[in-house]
């Protein structure tokens, strides 16, 4: 029986963006305060899961045409490439660099190479989680 999910779907459209924004916030907050790539990635993945719950797999894959395996690989590469950047400066692996920037509206902010590493972690977490969820969930 086809059911009417209007209430859930309308809320989801709104909620998804709140979750996504919050995950981005958590991701950027992760350097000095709790948060980081793993939590941010999990939150983004849970946002996508909410989409999958409210709509269906077909709609979501048309809206977000992402190959999650490739996403995982890109994340791994980004993470290892950032960490391996230290090799070229002949300092121990994982040594990170940082600098301060004046950004409009936000004032003085610091930017670290560790953030690039975290971006890799974020992509890996989203990719792996969604791969697993799709392979379990989308099976008849």
């Amino acid at each position: 029986m086809k059911t009417n999910d209007v209430i859930l779907q309308t809320t989801t459209k709104l909620i998804f963006f709140i979750i996504f924004l919050f995950s981005i916030h958590i991701f950027f907050a992760g350097h000095y305060t709790p948060g980081g790539g793993f939590v941010g990635g999990l939150l983004t993945a849970s946002g996508i899961v909410l989409l999958l719950l409210a709509f269906d797999l077909k709609t979501v894959t048309t809206a977000l045409p992402i190959n999650y395996t490739v996403m995982t690989a890109v994340g791994l590469l980004l993470a290892i490439a950032t960490a391996a950047g230290s090799i070229f400066f002949n300092v121990p692996f994982f040594t990170h660099a940082f600098d301060y920037f004046e950004l409009p509206l936000l004032g003085k902010q610091s930017l670290h190479t560790a953030m690039l590493f975290d971006t890799g972690v974020y992509l890996v977490v989203v990719g792996v989680t969604m791969t697993i969820i799709q392979s379990i969930g989308a099976d008849d």
């Binding site: 086809k2 059911t3 999910d5 859930l8 909620i15 979750i19 919050f22 958590i26 907050a29 305060t33 709790p34 948060g35 939590v39 939150l43 849970s46 946002g47 899961v49 909410l50 999958l52 719950l53 409210a54 709509f55 269906d56 797999l57 077909k58 709609t59 969820i133 969930g137 989308a138 008849d140």
Partner: protein, 94 residues
């Protein structure tokens, strides 16, 4: 002031006990889902209180996180109960 906050924590814990009673007893599955949802809400209140008591704002991130997880859990449970599957392949066919 501290005594007041501790009193609030105790009251919330007591209500959590009531939710747990409903979670264990709750004759039907939706009853248990309702109790779980309310448990999540009570946990959020608890974290607010504890972050006041500990005097730190680091725990406040968890509030939104728990709210998100509780909502997704509720939706997933009820969708499973209603349709027998959590993620549908195609909404129009079934």
């Amino acid at each position: 002031m501290m005594i007041f906050y501790w009193g609030v924590v105790i009251l919330i814990s007591l209500s959590m006990l009531a939710f747990i009673y409903r979670l264990i007893k709750g004759p039907s599955v939706p009853d248990r889902v309702v109790a779980l949802d309310s448990l999540g809400v009570a946990l959020i209140c608890m974290i607010g209180m504890i972050s006041i008591l500990a005097g730190t704002s680091f725990f406040l991130e968890i509030i939104l996180l728990l709210a998100i997880l509780a909502f997704i859990g509720t939706v997933a449970f009820s969708k499973f109960l209603e349709k027998g599957e959590i993620i549908q392949r195609d909404n129009d066919i079934s």
